[in-house]
Symmetry: C2
Subunit: 337 residues, 2 copies
């Protein structure tokens, strides 16, 4: 592949000028030589080597993204929104998929540090992700979920407890007398938030109410298997609110297999609110996360932090909250009121 030297030679100038032309600076180039350089570059199919550029420039113009599960459409949508926001700033988004495997997450962290990404957006599998490698490399990180107050990273997230409460309260308001929570893994931080929100709504009901919690992984397969057992019990819930849309799809599938009609026999609410939720059968009532707003703000924060390394300490104090929205559709049977 042609190098800047080759171009300089063909254009009868120096590599410095080639660089000035391709970067529009930092020095001016006369129109005539600029023409010659461009012509030579075109003839040789010259593509600047981004590795060499980054090595001497000190920035890679690259943002790393780590997601737990790219096959989950929520993270697919999130990745797309982040890439849109990154591209607008001329940054490339590198996507690392942890495949629900903590070891994978660790490897992506290492790979991003070694490749010197300018900054990182992270959705960790772990309750206490290990930010140490990024911290040592002075790479700013923003987590899109709650993190410890003293964690060396920023965070931007909805208030899961409040959002979970809103979903459960919706079911309470519509007089269901037996409400279930299909939560994530029982001891995770995220499950604790959903549980607290759910229980708060139950406590506020002001009437007798049976309620119950079950736990499953985030996959449809797992959620379906758990729901199949749950819904076969004599005391099965009349309504179920879930910690993710994926789990809600599993509930819908289990209900189908058992011949339960949704919403007539079972009301269902999801959580996350991807575009796909509108096309579920029946369309899914869900709590929508403002994915595009979160993505745009996350990239903005992280790009600023990368540009002003001096403010690193301030950046790791950032704890921003985004709003959520309950979208009422057919799956909970309350769409008309």
């Amino acid at each position: 592949m042609a190098t800047g030297r080759d171009v300089a030679q063909l254009a009868g100038t120096s590599t410095a000028v080639v660089s000035y032309v391709f970067n529009n600076g930092p020095r001016n180039v006369s129109p005539a030589t600029r023409e010659r350089v461009l012509a030579a570059a075109a003839e040789l199919n010259y593509r600047p080597n981004a590795l060499a550029r980054a090595l001497s420039f000190g920035r890679t113009s690259t943002i790393g993204l780590i997601v737990p599960d790219i096959a989950n459409p929520y993270f697919g949508e999130l990745a797309r929104a982040l890439e849109d926001a990154a591209m607008e700033r001329g940054e490339l988004l590198l996507i690392g998929d942890s495949s629900l495997d903590p070891e994978r997450e660790r490897r992506h962290i290492a790979a991003f540090v070694e490749r010197r990404v300018d900054s990182v957006v992270m959705v960790s599998l772990l309750d206490e992700p290990d930010f140490a490698a990024f911290e040592q490399a002075s790479i700013p990180v923003i987590a899109l979920h709650p993190i410890a107050d003293d964690a060396p990273a920023a965070s931007l997230t909805i208030d899961y407890e409040l959002a979970a409460r809103a979903a459960a309260a919706h079911l309470v308001a519509h007089d269901f007398d037996s409400i279930g929570l299909l939560n994530g893994p029982a001891h995770s931080v995220g499950a604790g938030q959903h549980r607290r929100g759910f229980l708060a709504a139950m406590a506020e009901a002001g009437r007798e109410l049976r309620h119950d919690e079950r736990n499953s992984g985030t996959s449809r397969a797992d959620a379906s298997a758990v729901s199949l057992r749950w819904l076969a019990e004599p005391e099965r819930p009349r309504a179920i609110t879930c910690a993710t849309d994926e789990q809600a799809y599993g509930v819908l599938h289990a209900a189908y297999l058992l011949g339960l009609r949704v919403p007539q026999d079972l009301a269902v609410i999801g959580f996350d609110g991807t575009e796909h939720s509108e096309y579920a059968v029946p369309p899914l009532t869900t709590v929508r996360q403002p994915i595009r707003a979160i993505a745009a703000r996350a990239i903005e924060l992280v790009a600023e932090a990368a540009a002003e390394p001096a403010d690193g300490a301030d950046f790791t104090r950032v704890r921003e909250l985004a709003g959520h929205e309950l979208i009422v559709r057919a799956s909970c049977g309350c769409a008309e009121g």
Copy 2:
């Protein structure tokens, strides 16, 4: 961030030795100095700079992936399978999402060339993707869809025509008398393959049969909108076979909105066969692509090509076919025979 020089200084040795230690070669290092280097590296949190390494080594240990739409679970699953295969070979997979936008695809191609990925796996939005930039940079590319015979890339793909015929033939065999094809954009190469397979099955039916084709984008939203109009017509089909699972989900949604029961009033078949298809309501009959096998083979081919640049000409002649499999579930009403 600490450099190899810092480590060498602290360990009282040279940068060459640091490199030998971290790469296990190409020269031996005495156990004593190796210890000292490792200790110094640990103390300084040394992480080799992959950019500098790649620049001098001439390889980035990186494979680029371009997909049309990462929010489509099929490509999510594909990306995951490819990353698994890449990691097994110690390569990092960089994922570029074209967001159904050809301009985006072009930018990813440019970014991959500039970053000097060792090779590329590509699912293009376009019928005739532009491989020129990769060819000029001598970067081997494998497309996971059919490409022109003289295209400067390898390809590995199922036989879409055969697979589409199998799906349609299944409906023919089960005596549906009015069968529709919900195809992709009418004039694309892919739509042509689905159409030929579909029409072949119709021709082989050996009886009177109404059939019809409609076209939609790959999104659920678009497929649902098109289906809504189609299924409201008096001559609506009794069965629909689709070019993608995403479109089939759109059909299921439209049927739901119109109060049509699947499969009693309308049989539906998808195409691609992601894990999610099993959890549709009702579970989706679909043509499964062997995603993991395709991913493993694609990475194998591309890694070999990158290792032996001499065989570049041979590599671009590779046109491999993978098998497909019809998975019969409830959505076509034929699950019991």
